[in-house]
């Protein structure tokens, strides 16, 4: 006969050790991911400053070589757009995979501001370079929503990501959280009269506030692209 009490206690201790190891593993992974996000943000800030400086230089040179500088600026902006979009996705995924509620609020606000600046910059570029080949697709969502609402937002996000992959440089995709207590974001919402969420804003003039078939989104994009030429 096996001593059941001894076996039960030993099992309890071993369970505790393995369970603690699993939790520690999760905590350590989470810490690493938060550090990664913070480092990413520093890099993005440097890239952004770089883009802004470039933008200043280009504006000074617009009169001499408009076309060439516009092309450069648009390309750099697109590259930055893709980069910030990917990193935004990374934060969302990391947050979803974290075991414990973490304070990524500050990081999300920082990124959101960068995205807003990027959006404003994209509008300026379109104004500066009249003949742009891209459209701004701003996806306005809420960070803190019910699970079902989140599924709806995720579906739009998936749709736009898929469309972005198809259209490549023709789309500046800018997701923007609207409930992170940023007055500048609120100001933009007021400016474009956006009250419902999620909303997709195409070229600052057309809004869609629900899930619609993919081909209908593509139709809007195609019309906007034709109009911008």
């Amino acid at each position: 006969m096996v001593n059941i009490i001894r076996t039960a206690i030993t099992s309890g201790i071993l369970t505790l050790i393995i369970f603690s190891a699993g939790i520690l593993f999760g905590v350590e992974m989470q810490k690493n991911r938060i550090n990664e996000i913070k480092n990413d943000y520093k890099e993005m800030q440097i890239s952004w400053n770089d883009i802004q400086l470039q933008s200043d230089i280009i504006q000074e040179n617009l009169k001499t070589n408009n076309e060439k500088f516009c092309e450069n600026m648009i390309n750099e902006n697109l590259r930055f757009g893709d980069d910030i979009y990917e990193r935004g996705k990374k934060i969302a995924t990391y947050e979803k995979r974290n075991d414990f509620e973490t304070n990524l609020y500050v990081e999300k606000r920082e990124y959101n501001l960068l995205r807003l600046q990027f959006w404003i910059n994209s509008i300026s570029i379109k104004e500066m370079c009249n003949n742009s080949d891209y459209i701004n697709v701003v996806y306005l969502y809420k960070d803190n929503v019910t699970t079902t609402k989140k599924v709806e937002q995720d579906k739009i996000s998936e749709l736009l990501f898929n469309i972005k992959q198809e259209y490549g440089k023709n789309i500046m995709l800018i997701p923007l959280a609207t409930d992170l207590n940023l007055t500048s974001v609120n100001a933009m919402m007021n400016k474009y009269n956006i009250t419902e969420f999620p909303t997709i804003l195409f070229n600052e003039n057309i809004t869609i506030s629900k899930v619609i078939p993919k081909n209908e989104i593509e139709e809007i994009i195609n019309e906007q692209l034709l109009a911008s030429h």
Partner: protein, 414 residues
């Protein structure tokens, strides 16, 4: 932290605990698994065969007992025809004619297996009572081996056997075979803590005096073999298992029959759990039932239902809206599985750990019980193992829910 992660952690802790618990017992006892010795002195045994519409099987069952290497003059067979509508009674009579000194027949209205066994118990004359299902047949050494346990461990009150499947042809039969082997392994481990809580119908032997003292089989329970196991333990009796006492039984061949059988087992388990719920607060009175069997059984039920509830909950709040929006968008993207591995967290750690543990656990049980055929990669053994551990076991919570509903509705009473 939300309620879902907490529930998941609870599930992990329970699974982890019992995996470690049984592994520790195995480490301590693996060399004792096949130490059983056959009985040197043969004692009288009355074998009860309850039969309801078993015309196609009962003959094989009787033949196997008669072909046993246990002396015929020490065997009494009491076959109970439980109101069969087929030719069961005719076949029983045919065999009684051949062996009038050995075989007795009880012919009763259909009242259930427990009533049939209790009626036979009243006229059984031997010191030991064996129960053999009419669709099961014994290996020729089975009785000698099972009686050897009584001889070598005199404080033993009931001994159960090594249940093997008669056929392992279909995929369903192969999965059941993996399951039976794992159950058998756990049952042997339970022996070492004195907690074998079921004496299955295919072949179990009891001391007649004990069986009579505790009042025979519970006629209200649909799985009388589970209930009698709990009752024996709660009254302080010892139940053992002989892995060398082999009995072959029929497994359901199709999914419908399999489902029906499992719902019945689950319902019986639930009935037993309800019957012994008071044991949780009466440790002295109920012994090992109170200390281990009830908590283990209840936790198994609870974690099974908990896991299922989590899946259903997530399907309702996430799955259905996802399908709905995919239809509207006319665009669907399968959820990413890679991120679970690429971006690990504690759930990844536990998920991988438990999956590997379950594979090792089942593999050890199959290997230690000499069922090495499953590890023939060319014959798809690993595939059977993986499907059994995933899809097959995933059906059990649904079966359990159906069993509970039917018991609560009073649909299952004898």
């Amino acid at each position: 932290m939300g309620i879902l992660p907490l529930m998941f952690y609870f599930f992990i802790i329970c699974t982890l605990y019992f995996t470690i618990f049984f592994s520790l017992i195995y480490v301590e006892t693996f060399d004792l698994f096949f130490k059983d010795k056959p009985a040197k002195k043969e004692k009288g045994i009355s074998i009860l065969i309850p039969a309801y519409n078993e015309g196609r099987n009962v003959e094989e069952s009787i033949k196997s007992i008669l072909a046993s290497n246990y002396s015929k003059n020490k065997i009494e067979i009491i076959a109970i025809n439980d109101g069969s509508t087929d030719n069961t009674l005719k076949i029983l009579k045919k065999w009684q004619k051949k062996y009038p000194k050995i075989i007795k027949i009880i012919n009763q209205k259909n009242q259930g297996k427990a009533v049939a066994l209790n009626n036979a118990l009243k006229i059984a004359k031997n010191e030991f009572i064996g129960v053999v299902d009419a669709d099961s047949y014994l290996d020729k050494n089975a009785l000698k081996m099972i009686m050897g346990v009584f001889e070598n461990y005199p404080n033993t009150d009931a001994v159960t056997s090594n249940i093997q499947l008669k056929k392992r042809n279909t995929f369903l039969e192969k999965m059941q075979d993996v399951e039976y082997t794992s159950i058998l392994w756990v049952r042997k481990l339970l022996e070492f803590i004195g907690a074998i809580y079921v004496t299955p119908g295919p072949l179990s032997v009891y001391k007649a005096s004990v069986l009579k003292k505790i009042g025979g089989f519970d006629e209200k329970n649909i799985t009388e073999d589970i209930e009698i196991g709990w009752r024996l333990l709660s009254k302080g009796y010892n139940v053992r298992i002989s892995l060398k006492a082999i009995v072959y039984t029929s497994a359901p061949k199709n999914f419908k029959k399999w489902w029906k059988q499992r719902v019945r087992w689950s319902a019986g388990g639930y009935q037993t759990l309800l019957k012994y719920k008071k044991s949780l607060f009466k440790q002295k009175e109920y012994g090992i039932v109170s200390k281990f069997v009830f908590p283990f059984f209840a936790l198994s039920f609870f974690t099974s239902l908990l896991g299922f509830a989590i899946v259903i909950y997530r399907f309702i709040i996430e799955g259905i809206p996802r399908i709905y929006y995919s239809i509207i968008a006319r665009f669907a993207q399968p959820p990413s599985v890679i991120e679970y591995v690429e971006i690990p967290n504690s759930f990844t750690f536990f998920g991988i750990l438990l999956f590997i543990a379950s594979i090792i656990y089942t593999t050890i049980s199959l290997l230690s019980l000499k069922n090495k055929k499953y590890f023939n990669l060319h014959k798809g053994g690993v595939f059977i193992l993986l499907i059994t551990l995933t899809f097959y076991l995933a059906l059990f919570p649904i079966i359990l829910i159906q069993g509970i509903i039917r018991v609560n509705k009073g649909e299952w009473k004898w």
